[in-house]
Symmetry: D2
Subunit: 338 residues, 4 copies
């Protein structure tokens, strides 16, 4: 931690900061320049809040040097983590594509979907039973019934499933149905009570990035889960809010390179929610794999324009198939399978 004093700070103010650091069990290094005095705090200051020091008289600003996250940091765990999901590895040499419809609708729709997912060569399936919807007046998902349809269809085709958990009170139900990967949605990235709960179970978690969360905040949310004991965390970039109105969210493709440097955990991309239109998905999906993502979360529906929600962003089984071919080629260029 670096404490920059204001140019007019007095010697007493410098000393007060120095003393406060000692009280926090940190050593210090005082550097007196012509225009500014700068105090370096030495030691593990992760638990110290910068605001406490910024509130002191004479302090201009406080800069954190150490990364605030630890368990999820690559600095402390150099090798890539590979997460096993019902026998399917995520985070290693193989790029995994998780596909399926936005929402679970009927047993038939789920069966056709699972078959198509499998046929396209994907090894994991997605589907929403509990849906976060902007409006209280639109379809909110089938709920528990949806979990049942999803799990049944996926099991039939040998696919582990991913589905979103929105409410702490549903966690037991998710465990009972044997959901393989719990997805935490963008709106809940900083729902800390929910993070703490999934941190206590032994089940992989896909943590979607908050709509306008910085990468650092996102890593800290993962640290919440990890701090509870669950280290099986997968980051999922799904586009962030921006000023652009030509599409729904701005896919932050740079986040892939940054995360691969900052954390040992796998990173996947959701091109469907990013762009928001099916015609953008292939371009974004290819970019994601080329950038180095470990997987994708893609929406596919047997008949997109009859989908009960997000009809405009789902690929057809045909389109998914074609896309898989392209992605396989790109993965190979990077020395990966798919």
């Amino acid at each position: 931690m670096i404490i920059v004093m204001r140019s007019e700070a007095t010697e007493e103010q410098v000393m007060a900061v120095d003393e406060r650091l000692r009280a926090l069990e940190l050593a210090s290094n005082i550097s007196r320049g012509r225009e500014r005095t700068v105090i370096g705090a030495i030691g593990d200051d992760r638990k110290v809040q910068t605001e406490t020091l910024e509130a002191m008289a004479g302090v201009e600003r406080v800069i954190r040097i150490l990364k605030p996250y630890k368990i999820v940091a690559r600095e402390w765990h150099r090798d890539d983590s590979v997460i096993q999901i019902g026998g399917v590895p995520l985070g290693g040499r193989t790029v995994q594509v998780i596909a399926g419809p936005c929402s679970v609708e009927t047993p038939e729709q789920m069966d056709v979907s699972a078959a198509a997912v499998r046929a396209a060569g994907c090894r994991l399936m997605r589907g929403g039973a509990f849906k976060p919807r902007t409006s209280p007046y639109t379809f909110q998902g089938l709920g528990e019934k949806g979990l049942e349809y999803l799990v049944n269809a996926a099991r039939q085709h040998g696919l582990p499933v991913v589905t979103e958990l929105m409410d702490v009170r549903q966690l037991d139900t998710f465990m009972r149905y044997g959901v393989d990967v719990i997805q935490i949605g963008t709106r809940n990235m900083q729902n800390f009570d929910l993070l703490k709960e999934v941190g206590r179970v032994d089940r992989p978690v896909i943590l979607k990035r908050g709509m306008a969360a910085t990468i650092s905040e996102w890593l800290m949310s993962a640290e919440y889960i990890a701090a509870g004991g669950n280290h099986k965390i997968i980051f999922c970039e799904r586009g962030v809010r921006s000023f652009e109105t030509a599409y729904r969210n701005m896919l932050d493709v740079t986040a892939v390179a940054v995360l691969k440097r900052e954390t040992h955990l796998p990173v996947i991309i959701d091109p469907s929610h990013a762009g928001g239109k099916a015609w953008m998905v292939p371009s974004l999906a290819r970019a994601a794999v080329a950038a180095g993502a470990d997987g994708l979360l893609v929406e596919m529906h047997p008949c997109p324009n009859e989908a009960w929600c997000d009809a405009d962003q789902a690929l057809t089984p045909q389109e998914l198939n074609t896309l898989m071919g392209e992605l396989r080629g790109i993965a190979a260029v990077l020395g990966r399978d798919l």
Copy 2:
């Protein structure tokens, strides 16, 4: 709803949209221009998802004409709503300043705080017992103990209290302690299960704006609460995420004018979390009242630089007192009390 067809759309595609509208029980009006055919849907289309239509062949885009919210809309309720909080009216002629520390620390700190809040002329008190913190390693609030200290101190000084609810499982506890106003924080603005729960109780709710939520999404979150039966909703703007790094959040002062036009519900501003530094608070607080806000949510601590969190953004009792004087003057210019 307006459906704009692509320039190369065929007559069959236009007819298919028209048929779909009828299936949705909407009438239509087809306008054929030289470059585009445009179809207007006539009727209450609030439950129709635009994506369903956007997914149809030949459709370029779909534009919603009717506002998606209804109970909270001024269009359907012309007069300002005034919400009664333990005898204190919010949303009428009087501008209300809710003040208090970021987090509840000790009974003594709370007692001194309540006295100072009262002395400054404020009629409502705030204080955090459950704290949403970016890092799992920092102080998370006193929890239930904090509720007790807060309510005890406030009652002593005749002040109704506002405090944040983060977890659906705590709602009963909040009711049992007699929390007067439930605050939904920025990170939970789209925690729909939480919104539904507070929609079922008879208690005023302060709904903070999501970190990067549009005003329309914010109104829809309020609509979630209102749809459950609880119409006592107060909007609280607290700054949004931006590219600027000179302060914490960018206070969206324009939201006041927009909300006053769109909804009949009260609108308040939190200048403390917006700027993030105590020295910015007076300027922002004055701007808020001058813009037409119905109240403020301000952090004050008996001894800011010893605060357990957000030490750098709390006003001293002295500073709060001075600020109240300025705000009173500005309110008077607008024909209001404070």
Copy 3:
């Protein structure tokens, strides 16, 4: 400047940075923590590019401690600067409202406008002769003819004028017509050649903030003008780009407090271009004055809905008059005139 080394940085890499600092005529202070070595550069490093150091092996990041601007910084010039514009002081006790139409249209329109500006109690007039328009197919301003109409009308009513300069080749014309204040528009905030040119003349400059410029970049653009010798610079906040679509730009009212702390130069606000709708202007204008702005730049048109551009954001003379009354009240609360 603080150079943070990567945790795995070698001693040779630390020494190489140290040597490079000496080559740049800076002294250094090396602090070795358990997790990181941090090197402090001592001396005036404003001309050193942080990237040069960030490119060195073993360096994690480089943090600038000294503000990169100097002439415009309050740190070096404690008192507020007051800029004289044809006898009208801007930046002192009196809040100045600069009003007038978006674009100059006809001599009659300008004469009526100037009379209305004067009647409302404003002391400075605005009007656009050269208009920056998003589309090449819309009205681009009257050009030189517009300067003539503007200056003539304003002189008649004893009002100094403000108008926008877009092209370096027009500067002589502006000087010849006796334009009192040269406005640099948002799209040209980093048109460095234009900044250098207006830095060479003896004429006050209103420097609008770039559409997504940080306050620091904005101060640096002012430093460009100041470095040329022209210190008569007025900052004008006019809203920045954001994700919100309920209005045109998001007025950054916090910028007022930040700028008043960072620079000694005057700060004004343009509420008309910020919100983009006339009905938002009074709320934003009041907020600006309450926040501590030194003035406003407001659009007024004798007959808004016949205006040749931005018809929806101009106040009527009547509305300007009413607004001036409110602003006078708020200014008085802050101990200022208007």
Copy 4:
């Protein structure tokens, strides 16, 4: 154009809008719903400003249906445009990588650079002679001398050159030195006088996206150039401003898919200025080609950490070489050469 009336709009107000449309030589279609009356304007309304109508009494909002751009729109020119640059085609089957140093420094540096660019298999060279710098105190480029070094070195190795034009007064010099492609930088995307000037010459133009420009504004800036007669325009996405601080700009990879749909002109990506760090460049460059970009603009320096500017973002010749191999593989997957 669709004009949505307010719910309380009177019949007179509807008629006034209708009349105004006729005055603008547009036909109309009035649709009266239960909650809103909506008026469709029929005809080419590109020259009509929406604000004129939005300023009218009773109007809620005005929505543009037709795209405001025409010459650059794919709607009017279905086939991809291929731009010839000294015999090198940009926009067709072959993906072009334009490489070279950020700034021109010495004849030797340029000669080594050109040789390395050529050796890596690139067919076009870049280099900055006039540099837009945030600070007036840092290196501003060699100016005309730089053009000379750049052109000389590139000619020696058979490479056409790209370099940035900042000032209208330098255009003649650029033409005299035979600059092959004129680059308009991000800060000048809406410097309309500069756009008009390059619209008058017969020379390809790379138009970088403004720091926070929407894709629509960007297309309109291209339309400015095209309207002057110069249709040889190349769009270059270089990252936009965002709230994220882990890198310099957020690369908008989705812009590739959107632009390829909206315009027939070529689209390239600058991964160097986007991320701002050399280690991010390979990931972003691969993503760009995979997304479907027609080319890249990449910084390479013979010895990055001695570069006079942006030292931290340049690749070494070695790194460029390796990257080219990966890009060739990805291009092949998409059926393209490189």
